[in-house]
Symmetry: C2
Subunit: 192 residues, 2 copies
C-alpha cells in the first residue's frame, strides 16, 4: 500500500527542515564560504543529491536563513507596535534586540558578517542589501517613536539610538563576557 499524500508531505517538510537547520548550524560554525554542500548533507544525515532535490544549492539555503532573520527582526517591531506608550515601545525594542543576541551571539555575528559583504560581490550582495533595508525600516519605526516622545530632532535621535544599540550588539557578539545588564541600564537611562 502506497503512502498517503499527507504522510508524504509530512516527510518532505521534515526532511527540508532538517536540511535547513543543519545548514544554519554549519554557517554559524564555519561561515558561508567555508562550509561545503557536503558538510551540510553530512550533518543533516542525507546525501548531496537529496539536498539539491529540496534547495537550489547553498545559496538557496542562505536565502532561507536570511528570510528567517528578517522575520525575527520584524517580530520585535510588531511586538513593540502593540504597546501603547512610546517609552514602553522603546524598552521593548531594546529588550528584544539584546535578548536575541544574548541568546544567540553567533547568529547575530553571522548576519552582521553577511551585512558587511562588499557591495560589488555578485552573488552575496543581495542579501546584505536585504539586511541593510531591514535596518533602515527599524530606524524609521524608531523615528516615529521618538516623535511621539516629543524629542527635539526625532530622526537624528533615532539614528543616534540605532548607532548605540547596534554598537552594543556588535560588541556583545564579539566579547563573551560583555556586561550586558549594566550597559542596558545605561542605554535605557540615556534614551527612555
Amino acid at each position: 500500500m502506497p503512502r498517503s499524500r499527507e504522510e508524504n508531505d509530512r516527510i518532505r517538510r521534515s526532511t527540508m527542515d532538517n536540511i535547513g537547520t543543519a545548514a544554519m548550524e554549519c554557517f554559524l560554525e564555519r561561515g558561508y564560504h567555508a562550509t561545503s554542500i557536503d558538510d551540510i548533507a553530512k550533518r543533516a544525515g542525507v546525501s548531496k543529491g537529496l539536498l539539491y532535490n529540496y534547495y537550489q544549492g547553498k545559496e538557496g539555503l542562505l536565502a532561507e536563513s536570511v528570510r528567517d532573520r528578517v522575520d525575527e527582526i520584524s517580530a520585535v517591531m510588531e511586538a513593540a507596535s502593540a504597546l501603547a506608550k512610546p517609552r514602553e515601545q522603546l524598552l521593548r525594542i531594546i529588550d528584544g534586540a539584546l535578548s536575541q543576541i544574548a541568546e544567540n551571539p553567533k547568529g547575530y555575528r553571522f548576519f552582521l558578517h553577511l551585512q558587511t559583504q562588499p557591495e560589488e560581490d555578485e552573488v552575496l550582495s543581495k542579501y546584505s542589501e536585504i539586511l541593510n533595508q531591514e535596518m533602515s525600516r527599524q530606524y524609521e519605526f524608531q523615528s516615529a517613536i521618538f516623535e511621539r516622545m516629543q524629542v527635539e530632532d526625532p530622526k537624528l535621535r533615532s539614528l543616534y539610538f540605532s548607532s548605540s544599540l547596534h554598537g552594543i550588539m556588535l560588541l556583545m557578539s564579539i566579547y563573551p563576557d560583555y556586561p550586558i545588564e549594566t550597559i542596558k541600564e545605561q542605554l535605557i537611562r540615556d534614551f527612555c
Copy 2:
C-alpha cells in the same frame, strides 16, 4: 652591464607594493573569498607566477593588509597619547576614528567583515582574533582616559563609549549619507 643591487631592490619593492595595493583594491571591491589570485595579478599587471614570488599566496596578502589596519588603529592611539588633557585625548580618538571611516568607508566595512568571521574558520579566524585584540587594546586605553577624567566607573564608561563609537562607525560604513558631523557633536556632548 648588470643592474646594480640598489636598482634591483627598488624594483622589487615597487613590484611588491604594486601587487599589495592591487590586492587591497580587489578585496575592498569584491571581498576576500570572491577575489581570485588571477584577479589580483591582472589588476597589478603581472603574472600569477610572479605574485607567488613575492607573497605566500592570497592569505599572505591578507595578512599584510591586516597589519596595515592594526597600524592605522595604533596610530590614532599614539597621537592621542601625545596630548596632555584626557578630554583632548578622547576628542582625538573620536576624530581619528571617524575621519578614517569618512575617508574610506569600504575599508572599515571590509575589516569589520573580517572581524565578524566565525571563530571556527580554520584559516581566517586568526585575523579576526588580531582585530578583536586591537579593539580590546583600544578599550583599555580609553579606560585609562576615563579614569583620569574621574568618572564613576571608568571601565564601564569606556565600554559604553566603545559601543557607541563602533556603532556609529558601523552605520557610517553602511549608509553613505550618514550625517556624521551632527552625530559626532552628540557623541562629544555625551562623553567629553
